[in-house]
């Protein structure tokens, strides 16, 4: 299906915003001012954008430890995200969650997750709720290649099928789980090969190509919305940075990232396609680039300047009533 110009610009804006967000975090982390673990999504933008472009507020996503891209694509406030990553009171989670726990349930973002594989059951639950409440919503579980080997994920695939849930499993195969190659850790060629055994269609798509992801996701989500059950999409690409910030990545081939960044960057490919097809002008994209940069500049400055949560916050938000 052909996207409208608005949609094309929106998609590009999402991807560029994520890229800018992550590139900035890479720099900011190096200053030592960001606490804890930070896992960057740079290089993988087409997945979050391609999938979430199909979703509205009633739809939910369950994310991973590498969740910034999903969050932005699902509509989380970028300022509040940045503040959260700096641990500030103005953060999306009041500074209590950090990068690994960014969530905004009102936006249908059920949370990044520090436990690999934990998102899939949660997405099944959201899909069940949508089904029972009859609100037409779907749920998407983002799972890494590493996370696809977690028992929780396998069980969820089966559960989603036997309960016929409006759920889509997006396996983001970026080639590595930490320092381990997915070629080794997954005992078949493609994770998508496993989908059949769980009674659902599974496809492999080129994660450098927004349009490929967008199309596959559209079909899977349509299927889910129509009550035809779950699907799996395996998105293949690479991450541009280490597993977490600080990772020297000696487990990778010397020029692996450089080559991919140079030849297969999802933003470059997108820009080339839409300008070559004369759907969008280069200047329009450049304007978005500028706006994204300004947005992240501002978010970073505000996050840095924001106050820490007050000491009393330590003890709040554990229970609603106790």
């Amino acid at each position: 299906m052909q996207l409208s110009k608005d949609d094309l610009l929106k998609a590009y804006r999402i991807m560029r915003t994520v890229r800018e967000f992550e590139e900035r975090l890479h720099v900011e982390f190096a200053t030592g001012d960001i606490p804890g673990f930070v896992h960057l999504y740079a290089g993988e933008e087409a997945s979050a954008a391609g999938v979430c472009m199909h979703l509205t507020l009633k739809d939910k996503i369950a994310s991973t430890h590498r969740g910034h891209g999903h969050s932005i694509a699902k509509g989380c406030d970028v300022h509040a995200m940045m503040a959260e990553i700096f641990g500030k009171a103005s953060g999306l989670c009041g500074g209590k969650g950090g990068s690994m726990h960014i969530a905004d349930l009102d936006k249908g973002m059920m949370g990044a997750n520090g436990i690999v594989g934990a998102g899939s059951p949660l997405a099944c639950g959201a899909a069940l709720a949508a089904k029972r409440l009859g609100n037409g919503g779907v749920a998407v579980a983002f799972v890494g290649d590493g996370g696809s080997n977690q028992g929780t994920t396998f069980e969820s695939l089966n559960l989603a099928s036997v309960w016929n849930l409006p759920c889509v499993f997006v396996v983001e195969n970026n080639g590595y789980a930490e320092a381990t190659s997915s070629k080794w850790s997954i005992a078949c060629d493609d994770v998508a090969d496993r989908a059949n055994g769980f009674g659902m269609p599974g496809v492999v798509v080129d994660g450098h190509d927004f349009f490929a992801v967008h199309e596959a996701a559209g079909e899977a989500i349509k299927r889910a919305r129509n009550g035809e059950g779950p699907s799996m999409i395996e998105v293949k690409f690479t991450r541009y940075y280490g597993h977490f910030e600080g990772d020297a990545q000696t487990y990778r081939a010397a020029d692996e990232i450089k080559t991919l960044r140079g030849t297969k960057d999802c933003l470059d490919i997108f820009a080339e396609k839409v300008t070559a097809a004369a759907l969008v002008e280069q200047a329009e994209l450049a304007a978005i680039d500028e706006e994204a940069k300004a947005l992240i500049d501002d978010a970073t400055a505000q996050a840095r300047a924001a106050p820490n949560p007050g000491a009393a916050e330590l003890l709040t938000d554990v229970y609603i009533s106790y």
Binding site: G97, G111, I115, S321
Partner: protein, 337 residues
């Protein structure tokens, strides 16, 4: 008063009444209906002990059988709870938490805090615990101390048909994640239970017997052991105050402390194994907060630090009994400072 029903019927009734009241209440678990996909009867089981039997027939697909995939379906209950349902999920035996604990303690328990107060996760995990059924080491544990340890969880351990109904309804209406622990040896216990729905608030202990000499704090099936011991001791003129905690998290510290302030003597009775359990928790609380009132050492009566044995003689020795409680009470009574 009133109609007598069993603990098990009270559980079933609470579920039925809440499902009638609130469309968003759904049940899930292994064979909680039973018969799914087969050619025989549907609603064939109601769980292995028949506790939920009949609910499928009443509520149809709001009562969902599951594959044997606890982390997926407990997690699904948790996820659904953040998305508008009020799932009551059955973990058949508490001992099975080892395959799905993450979804309870890292997900459900922590969402609200990690998300800065913006999450509500009204999920109830009903689960069967305790020794006595000759079910051996992997089907007889207590484990509520583990749940009690975890901030963000509420933990309920009812002792009577009346309480199980009121506490289960409260659990379903509660907006925090609740682990609801049903002792398998209590299911056939009869008691007076009002027909209409009612709630019992969390964190309010039940003083099942008043007495001025020794406080016995306990929970679950052990409440009945404590009452039995207290009855026996009363014949010798020793008056025990028996406190049934009802919930371990939140816990009614005030009732415990008040009682010990007046008796000066405490025995804690806990079916769980002895390390880092509820008995130690309460002993520590009292020793910190009511030390000056204590006239004697606190004594703990618990299971030993061993897995639950299969053989019935051994299992009976494993489970704390009235005789052990009486010995402990007499010991604290005899203590001279």
């Amino acid at each position: 008063m009133a109609r007598k029903i069993t603990f098990q019927q009270a559980v079933n009734e609470a579920l039925a009444q809440e499902m009638e009241r609130d469309e968003t209440v759904v049940l899930m678990g292994e064979d909680i209906a039973g018969g799914t996909g087969g050619e025989g009867e549907m609603d064939a089981w109601g769980g292995p002990l028949g506790i939920t039997k009949g609910l499928y027939s009443k509520f149809g697909d709001r009562v969902m059988d599951t594959p044997i995939s606890e982390s997926a379906f407990v997690g699904a209950a948790v996820g659904a709870a953040t998305a508008g349902l009020r799932p009551v999920v059955e973990l058949m035996f508490i001992d099975f938490m080892g395959v799905c604990f993450d979804q309870m303690f890292n997900q459900a328990a922590k969402f609200r805090y990690m998300f800065g107060g913006k999450a509500e996760t009204p999920v109830v995990v009903r689960t069967m615990f305790g020794a006595g059924l000759r079910a051996a080491a992997q089907h007889s544990q207590c484990l509520y101390p583990v749940f009690t340890h975890i901030p963000g969880l509420k933990v309920v351990v009812p002792a009577t048909p009346y309480d199980v109904k009121g506490l289960l309804i409260q659990s379903i209406r509660d907006n925090d994640p609740v682990i609801f622990c049903e002792h398998k040896m209590l299911y056939t216990l009869e008691g007076e239970v009002p027909e209409e729905p009612y709630t019992i608030p969390f964190g309010e202990a039940n003083i099942t017997r008043e007495g001025g000499d020794v406080t016995i704090v306990t929970l679950g099936r052990m409440v009945h052991i404590a009452n039995e011991a207290a009855t026996n001791l009363a014949k010798d003129g020793i008056e025990c105050e028996v406190i049934d905690l009802r919930t371990t998290s939140p816990m009614d510290q005030d009732s415990i402390l008040e009682s010990v302030e007046s008796t000066g003597r405490l025995v804690v009775l806990d079916e769980a194994t002895p390390r880092c359990n509820i008995a130690t928790d309460i002993s520590a609380l009292v020793c910190q907060e009511a030390f000056d009132a204590l006239k004697a050492p606190i004594r703990m009566v618990t299971a030993p630090h061993v897995p639950v044995p299969f053989n019935d003689t051994l299992e009976d020795l494993y489970i704390p009994d009235a005789a052990k409680v009486e010995t402990a009470v007499r010991a604290v009574m005899e203590h001279r400072q």
